[in-house]
Amino acid sequence: MKILFSFFTVVVLILLAYAGVNANMHFLFGAVIPYIAVAVFLLGFIYRVLKWGSSPVPFRIPTTCGQQKSLPWIKQNKIENPSSTLGVITRMFLEVFFFRSLFRNLKTQLYEGPRLAYGEAKWLWLAGLAFHWSFLIIFVRHFRFFMQGVPSVIKTIEGLDSFLQVGVPLLYMTDVIILGAVTYLFIRRVFIPQVNYISLAADYFPLFLIFGIAASGVLMRYFFKVHIVGVKELVMGLITFNPVEMQKMQEIGVIFYIHLFLISMLLVYFPFSKLMHMGGVFLSPTRNLANNNRMVRHINPWNYPVKVHTYEEYENEFRDKMKKAGIPVEKES
């Protein structure tokens, strides 16, 4: 149900773009919607991050994953249990770029005995890493459409990405990897019972959507070739706020508009969804804080006085018993 709902939502989106372009709504799909999408994405993303930021971090609560800094002769784990800013930056770097925590993943299994065993479980980490990195590289590669001329950095990335030298045009490895990784992430969500059980439509929808984006891109590059110069002109027109005229828009194949529309939908959907983990990971208080709690006092901005039971009240209640037991008291009676 959730899967079908997500799948058909993406199918409907594709049909919408197809129908729209056939009905000569190029301007809507080639300019208006992308503009709205980028605006929603940027504003939404910023809003969400500011919203998180507006809630304070009342306590310093890193999850420590290694030895603390204590006595000088005990070796501290400076990355997994950082006490300095540099340590935190390193920890965050490993988390953001290499998914350090996910790398720890284990598979718990119960055998006869009963005996619990903890096996390696790196596939999720690997697929996650493959997906995110190829997405990033593909995103960067697309900058050739956003700039007059093509910077050498982009050319280098393109060169590395296509170093297998297969096919015409040259096959980008990331195109294959991203489709494979998304497929794997989808398959595990369907077939691992626990993951299936916890999954929402909001988990399937982005997978279908991103698959659709990648697949339409692949089709466009390798199969239904579109008028590539026209695409670049259109994109340059968009970013210079000077959209190209209708006739040029019509020269580009419909598959491009499907691709662009799905990207637009991803951008619109992004700030309202779990995809915001992209921004959120940087704010996670269990990861981005140093474990220097006993060294540097952490301030809670909403710390307020609370009702307490004072020593005086305590002694008043127990004075006689304390005196009898020979425990010193403040007042004799």
Binding site: P56, A201, K274
Partner: protein, 539 residues
């Protein structure tokens, strides 16, 4: 009181069904199973600390006697907490449900209930959050994973908030560091707003508030409990120890969980402290007012936790001590390490802890001014200040249990191991995926160590016990050592159930046994008054 359900036999309990139900979790109402939850709190406990809605109620009954506007209270409570805690707001939003946390939770491993996968336990509250606080949830409802808050949902939140020991193991594996503890802490705060606390938590809370400690030991009782230990110490060592209580002008205030003054095996740990401090001749005092390091208030609300922990600095100030030494405890140390200074600091009336014996200045505690006794003792041993005879512990093959809070909320891993290696000759680690930051909870933390929920506790304790069983079978381990008072109380039950021939002890019990004291008689007994190895004949 409801009847206490006895847990099934271990052979039965360990047949765990991990199959997921056909029906969507959101359509599966909660089912209260006897042995899996605690009694509701008596009204008087709530009244003592001024908590809302004091009344007699039973979780298993239909009518929870809630205030009429309970729903409003909860929604308003969520809103307030979203604004106060970034962790809460963020963790409501960014989970991608990758499932990495699913089989990391001891309750899920030991029970197989899918709602105990940390991700799903959090979704229970997230679904409510979505309904009332997100665009998608408001517009699309169930397909967006959102649901109305109704009585059934409230009961489900309650049931599973008390099936999480806030051990943070899941947060070690989460790619965004989502900490289920941050979510169930909030769930418990919401529960607290409606007076839905459990008896086992509220009893200690009200005791601690009025009498200074969870067990409700009054000042003279604390003294007499300790005097009882002193008699045993004299029997074992021939040495008479005279500790002081509430003494002004002492250099060090010693604060430890009250559980160690009450029931074995914690009592042996307390004896170890007394012997160590006596042998060192340090100028320290116990306090009958700040007589609790632990804090069951933390299992109700942040505010209550703060109210209880007030006593520690207040008493240090009143007595005019220079710094504070803390005993072996788990959640006590999470709070001292991550909360105390923020709540009640700055402790500028204290000095940076400095060992009077070695001169070591504990720079790692230069703001909070409080150190863990394992840090203190490790430093003593490293500097050769203790005469130790580990062979006195030779009848023991020891393994080490890292407590959740000291492992994942602090990183106290090597200090106790260093002490342990110096006081015993036979130390074996459990499998690496079950220790240090990946350590398993005892299964009964955060106030779940009651009697009526024994099945839950034994299920939650299963992964830890199973790792102990592994070292018992391979190395003949017969002692499970740790630095946590809750562990000492609860692992005892868990071992009796799962691995009956393994006993439980605190670190400083082993120190007390190995410590060669000035002027002691030839020891023939350990602190449990059992004959020492090789001394059996003299009995």
């Amino acid at each position: 009181m409801a009847t206490t359900a006895k847990p099934p036999k271990p052979e039965e309990l360990s047949k765990i069904d991990y199959k997921t139900p056909k029906k969507n979790w959101i359509d599966t109402p909660v089912e209260f199973k006897p042995g899996m939850y605690c009694h509701g709190s008596r009204a008087k406990y709530l009244e003592i600390v001024g908590f809302p809605n004091p009344r007699e109620w039973k979780p298993g009954e239909e009518d929870w006697k809630l205030p009429e506007n309970w729903k409003e209270i909860v929604i308003e409570g969520i809103k307030e907490r979203l604004e106060k805690y970034r962790s809460f707001r963020l963790f409501m939003d960014i989970c991608v449900r990758c499932g990495a946390c699913a089989d990391k939770c001891h309750f899920y491993i030991g029970g197989g209930d899918p709602k105990n996968m940390p991700v799903l336990r959090s979704e229970l509250l997230r679904s409510v959050y979505r309904k009332y606080f997100t665009v998608g949830g408001k517009l699309f409802g169930k397909i967006a994973g959102a649901r109305e808050l109704d009585l059934n949902v409230l009961k489900e939140l309650w049931y599973y908030a008390f099936q999480c020991t806030e051990c943070r193991r899941c947060s070690v594996f989460c790619p965004y560091g989502i900490d289920t503890a941050e979510i169930t802490l909030m769930a418990r705060e919401l529960i607290n707003l409606l007076g839905l606390n459990t008896d086992w938590i509220m009893g200690p809370v009200s005791n601690c508030y009025m009498k200074g400690n969870h067990l409700g030991l009054e000042p003279h009782t604390i003294k007499s409990s300790i005097e009882f230990f002193l008699d045993d110490i004299e029997t074992v060592t021939g040495i008479k120890i005279e500790p002081t209580f509430n003494r002004k002008g002492a250099e060090i205030l010693f604060v430890t969980p009250s559980g160690d003054l009450f029931a074995d095996p914690g009592t042996y740990t307390a004896m170890g402290y007394l012997m160590l401090f006596h042998e060192l001749g340090i100028d320290y005092t116990w306090s009958t007012y700040a007589s609790e390091g632990g804090n069951f208030g933390f299992f109700t609300s942040n505010e209550m936790a703060k109210r209880l922990h007030y006593k520690i600095y207040a008493e240090a100030k009143r007595l005019g001590v220079k710094w504070i030494l803390g005993g072996e405890c788990g959640h006590m140390w999470r709070l001292i390490h991550q909360y105390l200074d923020t709540w009640h600091g700055p402790a500028d009336f204290l000095e940076v802890p400095k060992s009077p014996i070695t001169g070591t200045v504990f720079e790692n505690a230069k703001s909070t001014k409080m150190i863990h006794v394992a840090e203190f003792t490790a430093d003593l041993i490293k500097n050769g200040k203790l005469k130790l005879d580990p062979s006195r512990n030779d009848s023991l093959k020891v393994t080490w249990h890292d407590s959740c809070n000291t492992a994942r909320g602090m990183g106290l891993l090597e200090e106790p191991r260093y002490v342990l290696r110096n006081v015993v000759n036979h130390f074996y680690e459990m499998p690496e995926d079950t220790i240090r930051e990946k350590t398993f909870c005892c299964g009964s933390g955060t106030g779940l160590n009651a009697g009526e929920n024994m099945e839950l506790r034994m299920r939650g304790g299963f992964p830890r016990a199973n790792a102990v069983k592994f070292v018992r079978d391979h190395f003949g381990v017969n002692m499970l050592a740790n630095v946590c008072a809750i562990d000492r109380a609860t692992l005892k039950a868990s071992m009796e159930y799962w691995v009956p021939d393994v006993l439980v002890c605190g670190l400083h019990e082993l120190v007390g046994n190995a410590l060669v004291m000035t002027g002691e008689k030839e020891r023939t007994q350990d602190l449990r008054l059992e004959p020492l190895p090789g001394k059996e004949a003299k009995e």
